[in-house]
Amino acid sequence: MSVLPLLDIGLALLVVAVAAWTIAARNLFASVLGYVAYGLLLALVWVRLHAPDIALTEAAVGGGVTGVLLVTAGKRLDALKATRSGAGPGLRERIVAGALSALVAGALAFVVASLPTPAPSLAPQAAAAAAGPGAGLGNPITAVLISYRAFDTMLEKIVLLLAVLGIWSVGADDAWGSAPAPLRRARPDGAMVLLARILAPIGALIGVHIFWVGADAPGGAFQGGALLAAMWMVAMMARLLEAPRIGSRALRLALISGPAVFLTVGLAGNILAGSFFAFPPGFAKPLILFIEAFMVLSVAVALPMMVAGPPDGESKP
């Protein structure tokens, strides 16, 4: 007899209720705030599923950074006075949409309830990858990301680069090379500046710490990088820092450093360890930390640049 099942059911109901609120809320701002709360609650669900690494990522990216992205987008739309969005579907379409959604959710619930037992698992292979000569890591998820499925992770960094390029390219033609618009147009409040001055250095330290312990404990390049990105955005919101020009060489080098270092080490593995993305035994752990350090840099720079949006042309660098 334990209270844990009751807490689980309460948490599940709360998550679904907050999700329903983000769909039902009248205005965009309320809906975005609901989404941030939803991201934090979902992080607790991930902890209950024994996934602290995902919980960290979900809290930082799913809740925090996405929240800033959507709030900033709403403010920019208000500034453009472009709020008319056309009429929604009529009552009949809504009922059909509701029925369709219920059908899909029901089918998915049926699938979840009838998953095969015993469940298929790649955990033995991941354990071998984590403990093997190619890695030597205590955190199996970091081993999967950097060693067992290294190619996926490298391509995922390239997806981030493509997204940044896509965002930059929707800016006006004559703005190319200039800085994105600031996250907040108005002069920041004193309390915001104080918060950014105290929180940003501590948060940056915690971000580096989460990256560093990621080899053996929950944490890693994505979580640490996302936290560093959030701290940079806090400083940008307080106008202590401005977004850099997108033509800046330092910015571009930081963006490509993660995938470039990853790919170079992977190619070197072809010669030194006998196969693409293989790490030579004995050097594996320092090499993995070396790759991850540049991935942290890339993630920490890419996420704020995505939130900042396309180059603006009006704001001075």
Partner: protein
């Protein structure tokens, strides 16, 4: 009811809610938010698969969990690209309607 089945049902409910919001909301930012709900529901179902695949001394299967981590970051990148496109639509057309008939000024805006 065990926690992983419960989380799976939550995932299914989130997919349903998000799908409804995606269809029913006319505003593109609200559609984007709803789409993110669908995404996190799918991730949750993936997390249930990871939890059920506990083996080799771990309480979870690390492979699906690692894929969810990259998935969350990629979903954010896609959302950010969508936001940039929506804002561009608003600059070009003067509104954020996705209905081609509702906006008359769109054609002039595109010709710049």
């Amino acid at each position: 009811m065990n926690p992983s089945l419960l989380a799976g049902l939550v995932g299914a409910a989130l997919v349903g809610l998000g799908l409804y919001g995606l269809i029913a909301h006319p505003h593109p930012l609200r559609k984007l938010l709803a789409f993110n709900l669908v995404g996190s529901g799918v991730f949750l179902v993936f997390g249930v698969v990871a939890r059920r695949g506990a083996a080799a001394g771990y309480a979870f299967d690390p492979v699906p969990q690692a894929m969810v981590i990259t998935g969350i970051v990629v979903a954010f990148a896609a959302s950010a690209l969508a936001v940039a496109l929506i804002l561009r639509l608003a600059v070009a057309g003067g509104d954020v309607s996705l209905d081609p008939q509702a906006s008359g000024r769109r054609d002039d805006g595109e010709a710049e």
